[in-house]
């Protein structure tokens, strides 16, 4: 086995996704600790342009697999397997994105590699030790791997994106894939519907989470939004429950918002929620749990019961 790192980049609908550059940074870090080279795989899409783009400082080799326009997990698994057979790397690094979750576990199983997902930091000392969160970010853990080779997925936004221009060797890599044997077919994409409001346009968002408990209580936060001349948005469970429409959802699978003021009411601050609102100018959190991760990114906070604080706040603006 080599001491190399193989990182698999990600693209969608004609563009590399940010996590690709973050994979370069994370991969370089591991390759340095292991004393090996950093290889990147670019699979599908405009591979030549992507390879040039991702050839940032610290990349040693870029392998391009010219197969299809968009992500297909069967193609990704076969390509990574073939690259692994050629390079025998110590680490296969992949993104913990929705597509990453669609092929990384299959890669690990096919190659008989232990898998650690959603790493936020790691160290290499002959074997991997990774930091990851549990229980909705309430605790951090160290996970140690008893093996010389491992597959890892990294959380987006935890490593800075690599910059500069690298002097990597870029070369096409041939993989034999029997198109007829592919059991999955990507047909296309659909945008989630538009609806009545665009929360990403709002200056002030009053955002409600599972702390609101019942559908009938939504009225209370709507009243606050009206008093503040703000727009109402929500975390995912509120939308999953059908209490507010999908176009009100903030987060990874909803909208990314950057209002002047974001009031998070009864929202814990899960990573997929924070991904959609961390760029807000001022963040206010109202939550009974002083340990809730939302306070880590808040500028102002009230540790208290929303059913007491929200009516008092409405009084302040209406009274």
């Amino acid at each position: 086995m080599s001491s190399d790192v193989l990182a698999v980049t990600e693209h969608r609908r004609g563009g590399l996704r940010d996590v690709s550059y973050e994979l370069v940074t994370a991969g370089r870090e591991l390759a340095d600790e292991a004393g090996g080279d950093l290889h990147l795989a670019v699979i599908g899409g405009d591979v030549e342009a992507f390879a040039e783009d991702v050839n940032r400082k610290g990349v040693d080799y870029v392998h391009t697999v010219d197969r299809g326009e968009e992500f297909n997990h069967d193609v990704y698994v076969r390509a990574v397997e073939a690259l692994h057979a050629e390079l025998d790397p110590a680490v296969v690094l992949m993104p913990n994105s929705v597509n990453g979750l669609d092929y990384a576990p299959a890669v690990a199983n096919a190659l008989d590699l232990p898998l650690v997902t959603d790493a936020v930091a790691f160290e290499w000392d002959g074997a991997l030790a990774a930091t990851r969160e549990m229980y909705n970010s309430k605790v951090e853990t160290t996970v140690e791997v008893d093996a010389e080779a491992v597959a890892v997925t990294i959380r987006g936004g935890e490593w800075p994106g690599a910059e500069g221009t690298g002097d990597a060797e870029i070369a096409p890599f041939d993989v034999e894939i029997d198109e007829d044997a592919l059991g999955s077919r990507v047909i296309g994409f659909e945008e989630a519907g538009g609806g009545d409001v665009d929360i990403s346009e709002a200056d002030v968002l009053v955002s409600v989470g599972r702390g609101i408990e019942e559908e009938e209580n939504i009225e209370l936060v709507q009243e606050l939004a009206d008093a503040l001349d703000a727009t109402l948005s929500a975390s995912r469970p509120i939308v999953d429950n059908g209490w507010l429409p999908k176009n009100r959802q903030v987060g990874q699978s909803g909208k990314v918002v950057t209002p002047k003021v974001y009031l998070a009411i009864g929202i814990s601050g899960a990573v997929q929620h924070v991904a959609g609102m961390k760029g807000s100018e001022t963040i206010v959190a109202i939550n009974t749990d002083s340990n809730a991760p939302i306070f880590d990114i808040a500028d102002y906070g009230i540790v208290g019961d929303l059913f007491e604080v929200v009516p008092a706040l409405i009084d302040e603006f209406e009274g």
Binding site: R12, L101, A110, Y135, E144, E191, L228, S253, V256, Y300
Partner: protein, 267 residues
């Protein structure tokens, strides 16, 4: 005749205040419940079963006796029967290793031969998010991860799973996979029902088969893990938030002042 296998996990939720003991959270601060994502997976399977008379839904869990209460909830919602895998050899592992879980579930899939397997996208406690896709590769099924829409007619009539995969940024990928397949189910795909009183009564009579590793043709080696949890700690707070102190009225007044300074609510 069609069979849907649903993997379910009982997960621990942590109370607001808690203490860490060793590499875990002290049990007195934990509350156990059916994993949120699995609740949607169960509902999706039961909805398919309701379209015909010869569709069986079986759920499988890996866990100690305590989990039976949670599995009964799935049975009360319409799952036909359940399998609970447990073994002394499992009591000592933290079961973080996807490979070990995959080996157990593969044995169950090979015994049950389902047409469809539903898992949750992730378990709410360790958020590993990998079991379903790993299992699919191990048993040679097709798969789709993070599914928020499934065309049930296509499953029944064409033997394909036509799904939406919920990507980042409000975009769905529309994908078709051949059966047999594993789908990892995302919250919001349906509206999970509450168990009816009748369902709860019927669940008491439904079977929960307990299986040890040997019953599945496995030995202790199958669950030896290469991935170990060696440390757990509370992350240092990165918060530099101004926290308002006092009664609800006092804190609301302080917050209101800050908001007004920022021009909020100004006519």
């Amino acid at each position: 005749m069609m069979k849907v296998l649903v993997t379910v996990k009982e997960v621990a939720e942590v109370e607001e205040d808690f203490e860490i003991e060793g590499t875990g959270i002290a049990d007195r601060y934990l509350e156990y419940d059916l994993n949120e994502w699995d609740d949607y997976a169960v509902e999706e399977a039961v909805q398919i079963a309701e379209t015909g008379d010869d569709i069986e839904v079986v759920s499988v869990t890996i866990g100690p006796e305590r989990c039976e209460e949670t599995i009964r909830m799935a049975l009360a919602k319409g799952v036909d029967r359940a399998i609970r895998v447990w073994d002394d050899a499992l009591a000592e592992t933290d079961l973080l290793d996807v490979a070990a879980k995959t080996r157990i579930l593969r044995a169950v899939v090979e015994a049950e031969e389902p047409d469809l397997v539903f898992t949750g996208v992730q378990a709410g406690d360790d958020s590993f998010g990998a079991t379903g896709v790993s299992l699919a590769d191990a048993v040679g099924f097709e798969w789709a991860a993070v599914v928020n829409d499934l065309d049930v007619d296509a499953v029944l009539d064409e033997s394909v799973a036509r799904v939406h995969r919920e990507l980042e940024g409000g975009v769905d990928e529309v994908t078709e996979v051949d059966l047999p397949a594993v789908l990892t189910i995302q919250t919001g795909i349906n509206e999970p029902r509450y168990a009816s009183l009748r369902g709860i009564r019927q669940a008491q009579r439904k079977e929960i088969a307990e299986k040890h590793l040997a019953d599945l043709g496995l030995d202790a080696e199958a669950v030896e893990t290469d991935v170990r949890l060696t440390e757990m700690y509370e992350p240092e707070s990165e918060s530099d938030a101004t926290i308002f102190e006092g009664s609800a009225e006092e804190t609301a007044a302080q917050l209101a002042q800050v908001l007004r300074e920022k021009g909020v609510g100004a006519e």
